[in-house]
């Protein structure tokens, strides 16, 4: 099987005021294509930092990181933007849709930054919105949608560019449990039917179990 994520001895330090924080202390992590893994750990264990590194939002202090065959730890800001745009899809806890744009426009954003023309864009976005079951709400603004619907738009936005990995940061954290389960069903479906690689961070055991592997972080180490 192909390795989508390959992390070798990753360290991450950052400064919090005057204090030097060692957030990650030698992480070794491999994720294969089609895996659905859950990262768990108490707050301060470094799970958000790890997710940021996987998401190429930040660079490791030390170590090697290969994402879908690309060595990314040495890339500059411009190149990291392209990696994020082409290889990653993000789902956030608080949805983070742009409030001035309707559902389909929000889904379009990653494709726009790729420079894809409108006609092709619309097709892909419709497809993605239908996958998450929102084919009929394409022209609604975020504030006209429920939390679950907003999160589905966010998932559509994450999958529209057919990324190598979908990263979800507490995707159910802002939702009630029923809606949360609906969202997890979508993730499961994407994982099983579309063979999508998913990495999620969560602190709920039930949610974590939906994935096929759980990685537990404590004090910057993988247990």
């Amino acid at each position: 099987m192909d390795k989508v994520i390959k992390m070798d001895n990753i360290y991450k330090n950052y400064k919090l005021g005057q204090v030097n924080v060692e957030a990650l202390k030698g992480i070794n992590l491999e994720v294969e294509k089609g895996e659905f893994i859950s990262i768990m750990g108490p707050s301060g264990s470094g799970k958000s930092t790890l997710l940021n590194l996987i998401g190429c939002l930040d660079k490791p202090t030390k170590g090697l990181y290969e994402l879908d065959g690309n060595r990314v730890e040495k890339l500059n800001d411009y190149q990291l933007s392209e990696i994020r745009n082409n290889f990653l899809g993000f789902v956030f806890q608080s949805f983070n849709l742009l409030s001035s744009l309707n559902a389909i426009k929000n889904v379009e954003i990653p494709l726009i930054y790729r420079g894809i023309r409108k006609k092709v864009r619309k097709e892909l976005c419709k497809e993605a919105l239908e996958v998450v079951g929102l084919g009929d709400r394409m022209h609604h603004l975020p504030n006209q949608l429920s939390g679950g619907q907003q999160q589905r738009v966010a998932i559509a936005r994450a999958i529209v560019g057919k990324p190598a990995v979908i990263l979800a940061d507490e995707p159910t954290g802002a939702l009630d449990s029923k809606t949360g389960n609906d969202i997890m069903d979508i993730f499961q479906k994407l994982n099983k039917e579309n063979n999508m690689t998913i990495v999620q961070v969560t602190h709920e055991e039930d949610i974590a179990k939906i994935g096929n592997r759980i990685i537990r972080l404590i004090d910057g180490y993988i247990q």
Binding site: D58, Y78, S81, N96, P110, Y113, R114, R117, K118
Partner: protein, 447 residues
């Protein structure tokens, strides 16, 4: 990704970025309006204030130009130094650059037209006057050299005088009594307009020989000449200056003893080289000589020689400086408007931090955000600039309707556009830079 290769265009992101910048403006209309207002007021004040300055400048220039082009004036500031009535003939002969010249007699006397009496200003000149002043006649003819020589009782009327006599019908061919003598009206001058041509519209023009008789003087205090080009006018000034300096060499001694005497002698033989000829004579180059210059205000000079060209230039320069000063003051308010843009843009950046983070996560590059926020600032200044110019023009019209001479000056429009756009860009750069340099992680986590 390769599958969309054919359907890609780099314009897609630019268009989107431009649209998002517009979204940023429309998301808080009141704030946008207030920011635009800052630029708008600045631009409008530059355009209107410079319009006033430019209007004043043009008025002054027009007034001078109405006195004729390339006109040279020789004026004595002391009666003792006045010129012989025919001295201009000699000057025409001796001064190369001079094409035309006339003695000028300004006087005032009583006139009678039919049964009404009154006082009127009389201008005594020779037959070359219309050429010197670039003044046309609307009826009849100007008097000839023969009229001048024979001291004929003929009169040319200024426009307003002519109109007032016969309710607008031409009085040419009629007679009027000036200082007890009946004059035949043979021509009417074209209109110069209010305040132009030294009020010629309200004067009666007669041969200077006749005017001297009314005036009672045997000499004249002013000679007007004309050159065919600005260069020749400058040359004439130099030569005239030299001639009269040399003469004043005599008068410096004689004025103390007897003015009348020296007056006559000097007028007849101005060329006699007496005692110490002045040193500056050597500089024959036609350069504007400032010591010869201010005829109207500097009475320290005994005889002043100047050209209207110089006066126009000086007045023009003074006014131009004033215009720029006004514009400069207004431009400061434009800069303040620019600061307003920066202020609001900084607020916008900190308000939209998490949006910036989301964009970065979805693949926006630094320059996408840089362009977005720069454009947002630029939109404000462009809108402010366009409306500001419109308001400025409207204000100028208001001024004009209330009797102020203001004009829309292209220079003002250019200056305010350039200043507004650069201040928009300049003050947009810093907030845009802040936005684009936020680390994605930090931006995403900030609320």
């Amino acid at each position: 990704m390769k599958e969309y290769e054919g359907s890609k265009s780099s314009l897609v992101r630019l268009y989107f970025t431009a649209k998002m910048a517009l979204n940023g403006l429309t998301s808080n209309l009141l704030r946008t309006f207030l920011t635009v207002l800052g630029i708008l007021i600045g631009v409008a004040s530059v355009v209107s204030l410079m319009g006033i300055g430019e209007g004043a400048r043009r008025t002054v220039v027009e007034q001078f130009e109405s006195l004729g082009k390339n006109v040279v004036i020789v004026k004595s500031n002391q009666p003792a130094l006045n010129f012989e009535p025919e001295e201009y003939i000699e000057l025409l002969d001796r001064v190369d650059g001079l094409e035309y010249a006339t003695s000028i007699v300004n006087t005032e006397t009583n006139i009678r037209w039919r049964r009404s009496r009154g006082e009127i200003e009389i201008l005594g000149v020779n037959e070359q006057y219309p050429i010197i002043r670039d003044h046309e006649l609307i009826d009849g003819n100007f008097f000839s050299s023969l009229h001048v020589k024979q001291r004929s009782p003929v009169a040319i009327l200024g426009y307003n005088v002519a109109v007032s006599l016969l309710n607008g019908r031409s009085p040419v061919g009629q007679s009027m009594t000036i200082d007890g003598i009946s004059y035949r009206i043979i021509g009417v001058l074209a209109r110069k307009g209010n305040g132009k041509g030294e009020g010629i519209d309200n004067k009666v023009i007669i041969p200077y020989t006749s005017a001297m008789k009314i005036d009672g003087n045997r000499t004249v205090s002013e000679i007007w000449g004309k050159s065919d080009s600005p260069e020749n006018a400058a040359l004439s000034i130099v030569q005239l200056g030299r001639i009269y300096k040399r003469q004043l060499g005599i008068y410096d001694k004689d004025t103390d003893t007897g003015g009348e005497d020296g007056n006559e002698g000097g007028g007849e033989e101005p060329g006699i080289p007496i005692e110490e000829p002045i040193k500056e004579v050597g500089t024959a180059k036609p350069q504007p000589q400032s010591q010869n210059n201010p005829i109207f205000d500097n009475s320290d000079d005994l005889i002043t020689v100047t050209s209207l060209n110089q006066l126009v230039k000086e007045a023009d320069n003074a006014n131009r400086v004033m215009t720029l000063l006004l514009g400069g003051i207004a431009a400061v308010s434009l800069l303040v408007g620019g600061l307003g843009i920066m202020n609001i843009m900084l607020v916008a950046v900190s308000e939209r931090t998490s949006e910036i983070g989301v964009r970065r996560a979805l693949g926006a590059k630094k320059y996408d955000l840089l362009i977005q926020f720069m454009l947002e600032a630029l939109y404000v200044s462009i809108i402010g600039c366009i409306i500001g110019i419109a308001v400025g023009i409207y204000v100028i019209n208001l001024f004009n309707r209330n009797g102020l001479d203001a004009v829309v000056s292209l220079q003002a429009v250019k200056i305010s556009t350039v200043v507004a756009l650069t201040s928009g860009l300049l003050f947009g750069v810093y907030p845009a830079y802040m936005a684009s340099n936020l680390p994605p992680v930090e931006a995403l986590n900030r609320k």
